[in-house]
């Protein structure tokens, strides 16, 4: 199972091993048989680190899902809660503990494992409920970046984008910075940091601060990564909205969606028209027809947002028209979802009266008319003509450097920056002739399979000179992404 992790340029097995070691150490602290009570959200990420057999070897006899009420009557010595540090979950745990039968014999010991970080707030909360003393071990398991593939790390944090852009909650960014510190402890200090976007700036600031907080801890590992590129998802809102046309991307897209082939083709045509800049400034017939026939709402939202992004926002009349059509057809409750999309910048009013997208498209060569899908020579093959903006930024950073695109960078949201982390002379790289550089691209707010494919394509290019490792808060596609931004309003039955 570990083979796929060691296949890449950077051996990510070490990261997973470190994760497993930490888990084993914790389990051994709670001597005797155990039951694990899972925060359901965590089962996925844990599955990527350890199989059930590892837990079983450490006397885990039962696993249950965290829910209010009485805990199952498992005859074990220890009950361990594996949870994210969230107050809602603390309330459930409190309920569990208070309902535990005090007369039962033998009594069970309670422990909490916070993932990825122990929380003062939660412990305070438990203390106020009077149950903090019930827990013998309260520890943290810093599961930040989980290796998913030989060149791919994910934080498996579904709501990161929503939290950062809708709620101004930068918790996931703090975890990202911590994860990068762990990564540097294992793979050496990354000498160059580039970034674009507010979140990227924040993560870089935290990394620099965290490094300063431990002046004595001189990292003596030879650096594996040459460069870290931090990219905000909102620098490139376009890419995830488009339908991915790589094999993996396509499977990801159509999984669970039943589209007739004809409709799929029409949909694609409209997407491609928008991306190449055709008729983006007026209400689109196809979108209107889809609404009239009540096609799935997410499909409509994807298309409308795509049009908005490709036009640097929609004219008031067009925007209001779409919004009205959507509310009348799918229900007025979606007014909050529309508001969320506006807050995230996916749907907006063209304020400046100017459409910057054509300039960006031309300068970054986002639209390529002559795509060779059989023998691709450019990353635009992953969207049949459209080259993902995010990946273009990575490509241009490697060669010839961002200085050549200063103007366009200014049009994209958030600051762009460069930081250097000093290395002791002994650790500075002397590159062999022909040796590739290794860049870690961190997508803050999610990455699509097609973007991964594009970066892998760049890694494999013979004269590319750079190999890429990808990190992200979560693997996304347009549908899952839009879904995460939707407001779930269930009317109370009258």
């Amino acid at each position: 199972m570990a083979a796929h992790l060691s296949s890449g340029r950077v051996n990510l097995t070490a990261l997973r091993e470190a994760g497993r070691r930490e888990l084993r150490q914790f389990l051994d602290k709670c001597a005797g048989s155990k039951a694990i009570v899972w925060d359901e959200y965590l089962t996925g990420p844990f599955g990527l680190i350890a199989q059930y057999s590892l837990l079983k070897e450490h006397e885990v006899e039962k696993m249950v899902t965290l829910k209010p009420g009485r805990l199952p009557q498992a005859d074990v010595k220890n009950v361990i809660f594996f949870v994210r540090p969230k107050l809602e979950l603390m309330d459930i745990i409190t309920d569990n503990v208070l309902r535990e039968d005090r007369g039962r014999s033998p009594q069970r010991d309670f422990h909490i494992l916070f993932v990825p970080r122990r929380s003062l707030l939660c412990e305070q909360w438990l203390k106020e409920q009077g149950v903090l003393g019930s827990f013998i071990h309260r520890e943290q398991y810093s599961l930040d970046l989980i290796p998913v593939d030989g060149d791919l790390l994910s934080m498996e944090s579904e709501s990161a984008f929503k939290e950062c852009y809708l709620e101004s909650d930068q918790t996931s960014l703090y975890h990202a910075a911590k994860g990068l510190m762990t990564l540097q402890a294992l793979y050496g200090t990354i000498p160059q940091i580039f970034g674009k976007g507010e979140c990227a700036r924040h993560v870089a600031n935290m990394m620099i601060r965290m490094k300063r907080e431990f002046p004595g801890s001189q990292n003596s590992i030879f650096p594996v990564f040459d460069t870290l590129l931090l990219l905000d998802r909102n620098v490139d809102l376009l890419t995830p909205l488009a339908t991915q046309l790589t094999y993996e991307g396509l499977i990801d897209e159509i999984y669970g969606i039943q589209n007739t082939s004809e409709d799929f083709f029409d949909n694609l045509t409209v997407e491609q028209e928008f991306m190449s800049g055709i008729d983006t400034d007026k209400a689109n017939n196809y979108i209107e027809d889809c609404i009239a026939q009540k096609h799935p709402l997410i499909k409509i939202l994807r298309l409308v947002c795509l049009q908005s992004v490709c036009n640097s926002g929609l004219k008031q009349k067009v925007l209001d028209h779409y919004k009205r059509e959507i509310l009348q057809t799918y229900g007025y409750e979606h007014i909050l979802t529309l508001n969320n999309l506006e807050k995230a910048g996916l749907l907006k009013l063209q304020t400046s009266g100017r459409n910057n997208y054509p300039t960006i498209r031309k300068t970054l060569r986002l639209w390529m008319d002559d795509v060779n899908e059989q023998n691709p020579n450019d990353i635009s093959y992953v969207y049949s003509g459209y080259a993902p903006l995010s990946v273009r930024l990575a490509q241009l950073l490697a060669r010839p450097g961002w200085r050549s695109i200063e103007e366009v960078l200014k049009m994209l949201p958030g600051p762009h920056f460069e930081e250097r982390q000093q290395l002791p002379t002994g650790l500075q790289k002397k590159r062999q002739h022909g040796e590739n550089r290794v860049t870690l691209v961190f997508f803050l707010g999610g990455v699509t399979y097609a973007e991964i494919a594009a970066l892998r394509f760049l890694s494999q290019m013979e004269d590319g000179g750079t190999e890429y490792v990808i990190a992200t808060t979560k693997l996304i596609n347009g549908t899952s992404w839009i879904k995460s931004l939707m407001e779930k309003l269930e009317p109370a039955p009258f």
């Binding site: 001597a31 540090p85 107050l87 809602e88 014999s105 033998p106 009594q107 010991d109 970080r117 929380s119 003062l120 707030l121 939660c122 305070q124 003393g133 013998i136 709620e167 101004s168 909650d169 930068q170 918790t171 960014l173 703090y174 910075a177 924040h202 600031n205 935290m206 601060r209 300063r212 907080e213 431990f214 002046p215 004595g216 801890s217 209107e288 027809d289 609404i291 009239a292 026939q293 009540k294 209001d320 919004k323 009205r324 059509e325 509310l327 009348q328 057809t329 799918y330 229900g331 007025y332 409750e333 007014i335 909050l336 508001n339 309003l489 269930e490 009317p491 109370a492 039955p493 009258f494």
Partner: protein
């Protein structure tokens, strides 16, 4: 020869002992040690004495006196004892003195009789009082075990991470056990106790009766027990003079012995016989001493490590000597000098004669940013000594803002704590401070504080979303954020259980949206209210569920149920665009199978969506007959597609030929079957050939 053995006395048959004086105790005690509480720290550490403890009179002169001596009897410090009645003294592994009071309070002093802190052994102990107490040491640290007046045991395994455990009850126990001991096995602390001829083992969850292997059945009742320093061996003494020695796990007997002394020994301890390096038990009565041992077990005692030695020097405030030893031994900074400097700084902050500036400066001068130094720990010590200002100054040198926060909160510098928490980027810390502020400040001031800290404000909003939604409204109100207030009301309208409630909340939303100058949202919400009211009527009039359907579905359902007038009314009132209305209506009519109405509708005026949708929808409902009616009305560009859909390949071919469009011709050809459509195919092939000729 004689002189070597002259002072050795025989002990049993093959052992000898001798007495010689190592050094004289410097102290000049008037009291009998028997009347004092005494505790000697392990490894030749200090000795604590509490004098006058037994006296009951309350006159100040007769107050008990706590004295601490070095191992050689030099007085280190003394204080009059003003707290509650003491039951037991004991030393921690780090040479702190534990004073256990009758009410279960444990006070901690350092070896200079300076008070450090106190903790309680819990309510049960407070109520029933301490009968006996023992201080014990395990790999987890120093622990305290209490036997209460109710004959229950309570213990804390590590006083630095206090977790009180009340041990299970011993069934039928009416009087105190004759003897008991604390054992540590497999990282679990347990209590072994003897009541008459029975031995009980108490672990966290149960009480079980145990019998040592190879125990003589006629041994009698247990009087005394002793556990070796490392918890491996156990010795039991009974009222028949019988001694059992074995492993503390009670799985193996090492040896037994009949002493033929039946009285209770004054002391029984494990020791190492120097010549055989074998463990043995020393039993002492008033005028008799006995060493018992016969085993192959070899036990290594822990030696004093260099770290412990350094700690001891530091505790005795011999900092320069400790640093010189570190330098001599070339210990790493973190292991050696940093630790000593930190201790020095903690001592320095207690010097009351120097100003805060002087002390802070002196500490920073000496410590700089030496790796491994925690300024927050030194600051905490300064605060413990009542020097808040000094603590704040010291915290300024702490590079880890996360470390500054808890202490700042403790010192009630919450606003400073808030900015430090935000600096750290750790949202958990920010949350912690915010909730702290919430409890500390009045609501107005709290909100004002948040106003200036957007990061904290957004996190608090998230907290309110989950925990107290109503506060959210107040927050938005304070900001005059009418857009969010509107959203808030929309959101709450969905938890209303009555339609009037829903409408009321939505009306609030409308007002807020207007204030926010969001005309679109205001109008849309007004429409929503209008729709809700209409739906209520429909629901009553037609006795069918209409509430909470979208406008589209409402109109669609009206048509399905044949209420065409009402549908028309909604179409007009809500200004549904023609195109969408036509799509909606023909879909609904087809669903209803009302082809007559559909045909009528198609002729009502020119279709804004053309006639291909009519064809498509009829075909979708498997009604080719109806579909054929609309095919000729389709625009020329769509005609080929329409005729193919209705299965009229001949007309499709004609249209394609008329368009002179090769793609269309090929499309129709691909639908032709050789057996039935030969003529059509031929016509098409001919036309295509002609087209290609040109």
């Amino acid at each position: 020869m004689d002189c070597y053995t002259a002072n050795w006395n025989p002990l049993g048959e093959d052992a000898f002992y001798r007495k010689f004086e190592l050094y004289t105790m410097e102290w000049n005690l008037k009291e009998d040690l028997r009347e004092c509480l005494v505790a000697a720290a392990p490894y030749g550490g200090p000795i604590a004495l509490l004098k006058n403890n037994a006296r009951k009179e309350k006159s100040p002169s007769a107050r008990p006196l706590l004295e601490i001596y070095s191992a050689s009897g030099l007085l280190l410090a003394s204080i009059p004892w003003k707290s509650g009645q003491l039951v037991q003294l004991g030393w921690t592994a780090s040479e702190d003195l534990l004073c256990i009071q009758k009410d279960g309070t444990v006070l901690i002093y350092n070896l200079f009789c300076e008070f450090k802190r106190h903790f309680s052994m819990g309510n049960e102990v407070l109520q029933n009082h301490v009968l006996e107490a023992k201080v014990f040491h395990t790999e987890y640290g120093t622990g305290v075990a209490i036997l209460t007046g109710a004959h229950r045991f309570s213990l804390a395994t590590n006083i630095d991470d206090l977790k009180l455990r009340r041990m299970p009850e011993v069934p039928g126990l009416q009087k105190p056990p004759s003897c008991w001991a604390v054992l540590s096995q497999d990282r679990v602390t347990i209590v072994l106790l003897a009541v008459g001829q029975d031995l009980y083992l108490l672990d966290n969850t149960s009480c079980s009766v145990v019998t040592p292997p190879g125990m003589s059945p006629s041994a009698g009742a247990y009087l005394q027990m002793a556990v070796s320093f490392n918890y491996r061996c156990l010795a039991l003494f009974t009222d028949t003079g019988y001694i059992w020695m074995g492993l503390a796990t009670l799985k193996e007997k090492l040896c037994e012995f009949n002493s033929s002394v039946r009285s209770l020994p004054k002391q029984m301890v494990w020791c190492m016989r120097p010549w055989s390096r074998q463990p043995a038990v020393v039993v002492a009565w008033d005028r008799q001493l006995m060493v018992v041992g016969n085993s192959t077990e070899c036990i290594q005692y822990k030696r004093l490590t260099i770290e412990v030695l350094l700690d001891r020097l530091v505790l005795r405030r011999l900092y320069p000597l400790a640093i010189r030893i570190c330098e001599y031994l070339r210990l790493s900074e973190i292991q050696g000098v940093s630790r000593i400097l930190a201790h020095w700084a903690c001592y320095k902050v207690q010097q009351k004669d120097k100003s805060d500036e002087e002390v802070a400066h002196a500490i920073n001068q000496k410590l700089g940013d030496t790796p491994g130094i925690s300024y927050s720990e030194i600051a905490a010590r300064a605060y413990d000594c009542g020097r808040t200002e000094l603590a704040i100054k010291l915290l300024e040198y702490e590079p880890r803002s996360g470390e500054q926060v808890p202490l700042l909160l403790k010192m009630k510098r919450s606003k400073l704590a808030l900015s430090k928490a935000i600096e750290s980027g750790d949202t958990d810390l920010v949350y912690t401070v915010v909730l702290h502020l919430k409890n500390e400040l009045n609501r107005g001031t709290f909100f004002m504080t948040l106003q200036n800290q957007p990061v904290a404000l957004s996190l608090y909003r998230q907290f309110c979303k989950h925990q107290e939604r109503e506060t959210l409204k107040d927050l938005y109100n304070q900001d005059d954020n009418h857009q969010e207030l509107g959203n808030f009301h929309v959101h709450s309208s969905y938890s209303e259980k009555r339609i009037e409630g829903r409408v009321g909340a939505l009306q609030n939303a409308v007002d807020e949206y207007y204030k926010a100058k969001n005309e679109f949202a205001a109008k849309a919400t007004e429409d929503q209210i209008k729709l809700l009211r209409l739906q209520r009527h429909f629901q009553e009039d037609f006795d069918k569920p209409y509430l909470d359907l979208s406008l589209h579905d409402t109109v669609s359902n009206l048509i399905l149920d044949g209420h065409h007038k009402r549908a028309e009314q909604l179409y007009r009132e809500f200004k549904i665009p023609d195109k969408r209305y036509w799509w909606l209506k023909i879909s609904a009519l087809a669903n209803r199978g009302d082809w007559e109405e559909m045909e009528k509708f198609s002729k009502s005026k020119k279709s804004p969506i053309g006639y291909l949708p009519f064809v498509e929808i009829s075909v979708k409902h498997h009604n080719r007959y109806e579909a054929k009616k609309y095919a000729p009305r389709v625009t020329p560009e769509q005609r080929v597609k329409a005729f193919v859909l209705v299965g009229d390949l001949d007309q499709a071919a004609d249209a394609a030929i008329e368009h002179k469009n090769e793609t269309e011709m090929n499309f129709v050809l691909s639908k032709c079957t050789a057996s039935t459509d030969a003529a059509v195919a031929e016509k098409l092939n001919r036309a295509r050939a002609q087209l290609l000729k040109k």
